[in-house]
Symmetry: C2
Subunit: 347 residues, 2 copies
């Protein structure tokens, strides 16, 4: 089969690799129908996050079950399914508590020895604990299928940020980051009843999506000017809930600074600035909480799926470009150069 | 009147100062009956926290109302009252939400121009928003009065840490720090229904108090050994809730490392290690939250007071030495040298 392989910084290639196959009785093989490139893949692409040359890449996909091991009971060959961005056994303490990302049997697509999502097929460990069935009818609806692909990561991650930031009905929310996760954070905050949503971003195409997702205000400034702008919009107080969806030192500093006293920052941007942006003195004096982390997407998919199917939320606009598998290297370049927001891969 | 004045590192003196007096219609003057020295006063005493030479010091006291301004309605001359460690107006958005420490009219006892708690009397701004009445009968009960003094700061602060760490019935809790706040954190965690409470500390006199307050386990190790010991006590998982009551880089690092995935660190130790102990990468991967800060003691006093009066909690054992006002410099030395846990000042 063919799949995307990362050989080094700025070097992803689509190559022939061994076919995905059931290896243990709890495995399934999923023939990928739709996948995509994540902002977090760019950390590897840029060489900031280390990868071994030859590792697979991609962690967001949906597709059709092609084979199952003898112990798989929840999905059958032919089922349309979506995978969260980590696999998990579904039975341990953490999975039962909804923190599937801490499953001791869990793992990340594309880690050494595993298939990545940006390929023709994926061996899925712990299929019962990992995959979520989608209605077969969705297969024929490209817009819906695209929206469902967002369950894999960005919508679930935006939702995690909103929960971690304690978004409540009536809350004033600020979202730092106008990437796909930040935009999904706007959607999630709106879904949780936020009254006012301030989106920080300066790419009009993106902030237009933010507005369509429920943002009531857009702040195009950065750094100190952004902090001042958010404070001015909030009677000097800041936002009850701040979603941090970037992961740099600056974005964390901004997020903490625009939180209202007693508020919370829900951070889901993979931290690449160390702890330098975490101003503990400011947090202490103002009782600003910091929560979040890697999103347990598997826990959230059922509830978000219901809303996507009902049409009450539609994250599909975050995908603004499509490539075929051969076009994946172009897709990375486009996202790296910020000419594309989020690239969908069709098969 | 006489009060404690800080002139520089290791230099606190008891001196004649201007009498406390009502200056605005919302002021009261409280004649101090009982005060104490706080672990956080030592940061100033050691020169780590800056003070202007001549500033007053001390932020925990209870006493009898001696005078009130024309607009004071909630307390009367002769009332026995306790003060939280910051004053607050009681009417702003933050006070009404229970975050009195963010009151824009609030302030800290001993800040420039204000009286400190370690003196014969204190001018209390916003008396209605600040003071809490105590039953007159308590005046004759030294043990009870001592317990009530803890409402001013350490008991409220331990409670804040427990709330921030999300202590729930049945939870496994770890407490970093065996000072008065850490010990009160044990008491607060027990009160909130913690099933297992691991106290980290190596001064037997203190960990004995921790056990009497509800600690089920004591870990005397530090650093990596402490982390390993807590993990061993918790099937490798760590504690659901960790109370950080020290404020150094090491203590924060330990606190985050012993939290269970998905758990929370409630920190109330005044941060003196910057953000260096905040391992954001570890927090991210394991979804460990960090919350807390300066405790809004005023918000908690009524509920904690009820339990102290009912006898269901008794923080008085954290006070292990008494001095008169003249003995305050000796009290600082004793706490600085760790020969005293918490020094009470009688008048």
């Amino acid at each position: 089969m063919r799949a995307t392989v990362i050989h080094g910084p700025n070097d992803v290639r689509v190559e022939e690799v061994p076919d995905a196959a059931v290896r243990t009785p709890t495995d399934a093989v999923v023939r990928v129908v739709l996948a995509c490139i994540c902002g977090s893949d760019l950390w590897a692409y840029r060489g900031v996050a280390q990868r071994q040359p030859g590792q697979r890449i991609g962690h967001e996909f949906l597709g059709v079950v092609e084979a199952v091991g003898a112990e798989v009971g929840s999905v059958r060959v032919g089922d349309l399914v979506v995978a969260p961005f980590v696999w998990s056994d579904g039975t341990c303490d953490f999975c039962r508590e909804g923190l599937h990302t801490s499953c001791p049997d869990g793992g990340f697509w594309g880690s050494v020895g595993s298939d990545g999502g940006q390929g023709e097929a994926v061996r899925v460990p712990y299929a019962d604990g990992t995959l979520v069935r989608l209605p077969a009818e969705a297969a024929g609806d490209e817009r819906l299928l695209t929206a469902l692909l967002a369950l894999s990561d960005v919508l679930a991650t935006g939702h995690h940020a909103a929960l971690a930031a304690r978004v409540r009905p009536g809350a004033t929310v600020a979202v730092v980051g106008d990437g796909a996760v930040g935009l999904c954070g706007v959607l999630a905050a709106k879904r949780l009843g936020a009254e006012r949503i301030i989106a920080l971003g300066r790419h009009t195409a993106r902030t237009d999506i933010a507005r369509s997702f429920g943002a009531t205000d857009v702040v195009a400034e950065r750094g100190e000017a952004a902090i001042a702008a958010v404070r001015e919009l909030t009677r000097g107080h800041g936002a009850h809930a701040v979603l941090e969806a970037v992961g740099t030192e600056d974005s964390m500093r901004t997020a903490i600074s625009i939180a209202r006293d007693g508020g919370a920052v829900g951070y889901v941007g993979v931290p690449h600035g160390g702890s330098a942006g975490v101003d503990i003195g400011q947090m202490f004096n103002r009782n600003v909480a910091l929560a979040g982390g890697v999103a347990p997407a598997r826990a959230y998919i059922p509830e978000l799926l219901a809303d996507v199917l009902a049409g009450t939320i539609d994250p599909s606009p975050v995908f603004d470009r499509s490539v075929t598998l051969d076009g994946v290297p172009d897709g990375y370049r486009a996202m790296d150069e910020r000419t594309a927001l989020k690239v969908r891969i069709t098969f």
